[in-house]
Symmetry: C2
Subunit: 282 residues, 2 copies
Amino acid sequence: MALEIVSRHGCFGGTVTYYRHASSATGTLMRFSAFVPANVQNAPLLWFLSGLTCTEDNFTVKGGAYRQAAALGLVIVAPDTSPRGADVPDDPAYDFGQGAGFYINATQAPWATHFQMERYIAQELPQVVAAELPVDMRRQGLFGHSMGGHGALTLALKYPQQFTSISAFAPIAAPTQVPWGRKAFTSYLGSDEAAWQDHDACVLMRRSGDRRAMPAILLDQGADDPFLHEQLRPELFEAACAAVGQGLILRRQAGYDHGYFFVSTFIDDHLRHHAAILGGQS
Amino acid sequence: MALEIVSRHGCFGGTVTYYRHASSATGTLMRFSAFVPANVQNAPLLWFLSGLTCTEDNFTVKGGAYRQAAALGLVIVAPDTSPRGADVPDDPAYDFGQGAGFYINATQAPWATHFQMERYIAQELPQVVAAELPVDMRRQGLFGHSMGGHGALTLALKYPQQFTSISAFAPIAAPTQVPWGRKAFTSYLGSDEAAWQDHDACVLMRRSGDRRAMPAILLDQGADDPFLHEQLRPELFEAACAAVGQGLILRRQAGYDHGYFFVSTFIDDHLRHHAAILGGQS
């Protein structure tokens, strides 16, 4: 688990660092990026999970997050979306295999050997980050985009003691009901749909009991997103939140599609949302 | 010269559009991006010229410019850095050929046929843009990064009636005296160095006469830029400006390297610099 610095760059007074380390969860070298503002100690830690086809680099260079993160004193860690390498199984499609780990632990061969992204993100990587970065692990927030929005919503619901603030951009909000999720879950988890239910944000939300005391979730969705109706289905997550009293700020943004121009337009709102819940640096 | 929209994306209330058109200057299809804020008419037009290896996409997705451009009402156009295509000569090195047009008109075979980037940027593309976008062509600013910083400084000095406000990030400020420039000019312009002088910002500045009445040029340079001493040489441009009374705000930024994390950190300052000279939208 020795951590190697791939590169470090000055950015808004702080630094962006790309790291690489051998992961015991995935059995591969994994990469992530970290933005650390200048002069922070015990800073809130915000995790960003990326979408299909992305690496740790996409959000880091396209998200436009670090100006506001510097102002708010937030550390942001952006992991890769799957194990990678010549020894790792893959699929020619963009929506499955490498670049498409779905933030779950695969149970089916040949995927189960390396595709242990839930364990990596929720358990192993936090230990790596806590040992390396000036963060307060009692104040962790989680957000993500598309497949990473699915990851953010589900991991926040699975690990409520760990992640306090939650938001998402255009998440795959009901993966058991849409083609992207059904394809991935069939191969990673097997064809028994009962095993899928633990990894669907709508199911997890409905199971979670009265959530009136929980901080509201912020969800931005482009109204012109070509994946909205077939793959994302935020209205199902909206209904699940309503059923258990979970506060949800669902904003349907007219004129926006699925890409990083959309994400970057609203990123400052998300950072302020998390900072308001997690508090500033202490 | 018919203009084709490749894609359009909502961004900070306005739009980012990628365009493609057949260029008579280069004899190829050329691409550029344009950010247009919401509800602007006769807006100031700011040109961003990118560096070695870049396309029209790099600044567009990594520059972090559009939040502030939207606030200031600036249109920003980012062209590609060279002609491209299977029929266009190329070189295996990253610093010459496709992706490395140097914003000059090549005079030597086989480059002269397509590598007419000065004509493309200063003459053809402005006509295309004026016909398509809600801009005031009397208010044009020019900035760029690295090779594109060289392009911005030299084209602004060659076409002073066209470009009113000037800035640069880590420009190749004295190309006739550094390896990147000498290599490119030898092949594009021939081995007679007399022909190179018209394309060196330091030479052009010293030739330009008393510039005390001109707006100051803003130049940001990372102090940790690995190319600083061998390829960029801002101190030579600083001396040239001093020799003719040109105002220059040269900021040596400690802790910053040559990449877009550096550019994005200071982009807002550059946009405000241009807006202050060009005025807001009318």
